[in-house]
């Protein structure tokens, strides 16, 4: 962990070791930023295709129609549609939001904010990014394999996903006069699945890709935990850490505990597919038309337990870092100390620990014992309490503040506003009898997009805008940023808010053509309205990309501390050199000493000036 010697040898490195195989935590964070941006574009385009189909389900799409194969009749096939939403969700979750939150913010910010020269294990850190590349390549290649990409939903429930064709029995055609049918062993080496085209090779690619993502995230979280526990600058007590670091710390613990479960579950499903084990195949076997599997010995429900045991904590992995980032930004631009620092830390810890015992609320309708549902319901209801505490503390920070409307602040305020909507809609689903109706309808789709898009992505936009000057030494363009924010806020709400109404109307999710149902007929205008809003929302994101690339070269040069913020990263030059600090800072106080009487209204964590403020906690 003696980084100084390491430091001197690495400064002589060339292009490859600086930009590609870098062990510098800042470069790794930036690598995650740009690969996330590429996948954000891909995932967004997939979403727009989904919306197109929903708005005009009878096909005949202008211009786009002719891209589809002749055999589909000039429109999307239902199988293609299932592939779209599967890949949209998988890409957005595993290749955009988690890499941006933990990869970009975790890597870039943790050493800078705790006053360390780098991560505890720089090589491991490099690997954590570079195992993402097989994942990137495999997930993109999966679009082009036989049968197309995975199409069993991002939840990938067996037995839609896990049945392979290499082991099974085929019923011989019944001949007249023969009472019983006979069977022959079915042989097929192509990995096709009888359940759906995408459940063959595409599913295998999906599984392998996510196993790589899982390994990469494991490496990252081990690194974050070790770094935060061992490498804090002198004086940086745990209770003086900025909330961003706390959130990343808690997220890393969540990841370290939950991810192995998912990785194992993925491997079990991969074995089911490749060598016809039957972890998720029921004892009686299955029949798809004339085709029968061999009797299994497992349980399809086991997958759901394993999957949600990871994926519910994963929901918090996808929101906690954004909460931390937003807290720091709100305090900075309110010019006011964070209200209730300790309750904020404890409520994040409470969300994380309760997060481990609520996974069953995804399974109220799954066939789980209804009595078990009550326990999961109570835990789920309780998790709303720490979420409420956080919201009230953000509002209390704003109360009596002196708000500066920078782009970062606006995005952070939008996070608070949208998180309220996403949080409140969750209470409907926590109530088991109401969830019976809302489960797997658009109400859920609305909820997840308010939490993941409208909250996490606004948090990410806020964070990128806020730390861009530290990453690249230049500020992002403010007017462009504000236009991008306002349009995203408007079109985002126009796209996702009507989904609540669709859900109340009983519109099931993952439907290729809802119009064949009489009870959904008059919801169709809403679907079309949302699609138009979604396209405008997609176009708006181009402004963000333009802003990033414009500001990289032409942005206003930023000094060390453009936002007059308190935390340690603003002591380092912008961008910080390898090794970050000229001299490791000594921390004097907590991170939120704003609204100070004096020549400056803030006192940085390392400032040795006496603060002249009476502290009342």
């Amino acid at each position: 962990m003696n980084h100084d010697s390491n430091h001197s040898t690495e400064t002589k490195s060339g292009f490859l070791t600086t930009y590609l195989f870098s062990q510098d935590h800042k470069m790794i964070g930036i690598q995650f930023l740009f690969s996330g941006l590429i996948f954000f574009g891909i995932g967004g385009l997939l979403a727009l295709l989904i919306r197109l189909q929903l708005a005009w389900p009878d096909g005949n799409l202008p211009y786009i129609g002719k891209w589809f194969p002749q055999s589909w009749g000039g429109k999307m096939s239902p199988e293609f549609y299932t592939m779209l939403f599967t890949m949209h969700a998988s890409i957005m979750i595993f290749f955009v939001i988690i890499p941006w939150l933990t990869g970009t913010f975790g890597n870039f910010l943790i050493p800078l904010m705790i006053g360390a020269r780098d991560m505890a294990f720089p090589k491991l850190n490099m690997f954590s990014y570079w195992v993402m590349w097989p994942a990137f390549i495999i997930i993109l290649a999966s679009f082009f394999v036989d049968g197309g990409a995975a199409s069993s939903g991002w939840t990938s429930y067996p037995t839609l996903s896990n049945v392979g064709a290499e082991a099974g029995l085929e019923k011989n055609p019944v001949k007249p006069g023969e009472p019983a049918s006979s069977y022959t062993v079915f042989k097929d080496d192509s990995f096709n699945s009888p359940s759906s085209p995408g459940a063959g090779m595409g599913q295998i690619f999906w599984l392998v890709s996510l196993i790589f993502v899982g390994i990469g995230s494991m490496m990252g979280s081990v690194n974050y935990i070790t770094t935060i526990l061992n490498m804090r600058a002198p004086g940086m007590d745990l209770m003086r850490m900025p909330l961003t670091v706390w959130s990343l710390f808690i997220t890393a613990i969540l990841q370290a505990l939950a991810l192995p479960v998912l990785t194992v579950a993925l491997m079990l499903q991969l074995l089911d597919k490749l060598i016809a084990t039957s972890f998720f195949l029921p004892p009686g076997g299955l029949s798809f038309g004339n085709w029968h599997t061999t009797p299994g010995g497992g349980q399809p429900l086991l997958w759901q337990h394993l999957f949600w045991f990871y994926s519910h904590p994963a929901v918090y992995i996808m929101i906690l870092p954004a909460m931390g980032v937003v807290s720091d930004i709100i305090a900075t631009f309110s010019r006011k100390p964070m209200f209730g620092y300790k309750p904020m830390v404890f409520s994040m810890a409470a969300i994380a620990s309760l997060g481990f015992i609520v996974w069953g609320h995804h399974m109220f309708q799954s066939g789980m014992d209804p009595r078990l549902g009550t326990g999961f319901m109570l835990a789920t209801i309780l998790i709303a309490v720490p979420s409420a505490i956080k919201t009230f503390n953000w509002l209390a920070t704003l109360w009596g503040a002196s708000i500066l409307y920078t782009t970062a602040m606006l995005n952070a305020l939008a996070f608070v506003s949208m998180f309220v909507i996403g949080g409140l809609s969750g209470i409907f689903m926590a109530a088991t009898p109401v969830d019976v109706y809302f489960h797997d309808t658009y109400f859920i789709v609305a909820h997840i997009h308010y939490v993941l898009f409208m909250s996490s992505i606004f948090g990410i936009f806020a964070g990128i805008t806020f730390w861009f000057p530290k990453m690249f030494g230049r500020l992002m363009n403010e007017p462009l940023g504000k236009v991008h924010f306002a349009l995203t806020f408007i079109f985002g709400n126009l796209t996702f808010f009507p989904m609540h109404i669709l859900g109340i109307g009983g519109h099931p999710r993952r439907y290729y053509d809802p119009t064949i149902y009489q009870y959904l007929e008059n919801l169709q205008p809403l679907n079309q309205f949302m699609t138009i809003s979604a396209m405008l929302l997609g176009l708006t994101q181009l402004l963000f990309v333009i802003n990033i690339f414009y500001s990289l070269w032409f942005g206003e040069k930023a000094g060390k501390n453009p936002w007059n913020s308190n935390t340690l990263e603003w002591d380092a030059p912008s961008p910080p050199p390898h090794g970050n600090f000229d001299q490791i800072p000594v921390v004097q106080r907590g991170p939120y000493e704003y609204a100070i009487d004096g020549p400056l209204d803030y006192l940085t964590q390392s400032s040795t000036a006496s603060d002249g403020v009476k502290h009342h906690e």
Partner: protein, 303 residues
Amino acid sequence: MHRCWGLLFAAVNLAAIGLFAISPAMGWWLPKNIASYGADIDHLFYLILVATGFFFVITQGTLVYCMFRFNAKDGAKAKHIHGNTKLEIIWTAIPAIILLYIGFAQTPTWAKMKYIEIDTWFPIRYKGTNIESDLHVTVLGRQWEWRMRYPQGHIPADPQAWADLGNLHDLHVVNELHVWKDAKVKIHLKTQDVIHSFFMPNLRLKQDALPGKVMPMVFSPIEANVRYNPKTRILEELNPSSTWEIACAELCGGNHYRMRGKLFVHESKQDYELWFSDALKNQRIHESTRLAPVVASSNGVNP
């Protein structure tokens, strides 16, 4: 300019409230309820809607107020406050109490839906199940249809065994669930391939069909939508707008959206029996031209 941001936030939140306000009038709302416990669910939905609506207005209102009021460009001075324990306790306790109330308020409805007996004083303690039914139906999901199987005499001697294996004289119908008004219906839900979810929006009911298992579903419709005319052998709708549909709510492959079924609630048991006997006669005529009855086997290789 700086005042516009508060306006933007206010406008978006007001639009959200506005959409909820106009939706019932536009017909974008809960479908008609026909379940005996459905009123309880809807009541619970409105209870949560009021509670969340209250917190929505409070929190968004405070946010928008702060955005207008505490503005650096208007010369607002920030106060150096780190927190307030009393406030923290208050805003932890109030949501906790409301949430726990919602938590306990729902357990009787959950028990009613699942036909579980619960302790009156501590409603999350279960005492046992009490399922007694007037009509048993087996529903088998497959890619991509629902196969319904009705027993003669409505109640089989051994429901579990009947659900597993069936009986030679059962009536088989595809995508049509026939019951009668006020009947206590028990559905034995199965699947032969992937997970499906039997969703009847009007009954506020949904249950996943799990491969290898028989899932129970219990309900009792309080309203009828059809009458059987034995002369014309046609099901007559009582009301042109009362088509009640069945959907699949769990992704089950490309044609997931096409697992559309219909729910027919007959006026009376007699009316159901008229339909049943005609349908069974009809099935026998067709069967005589076949070699073996179509018995959908529940699971796997079991010829």
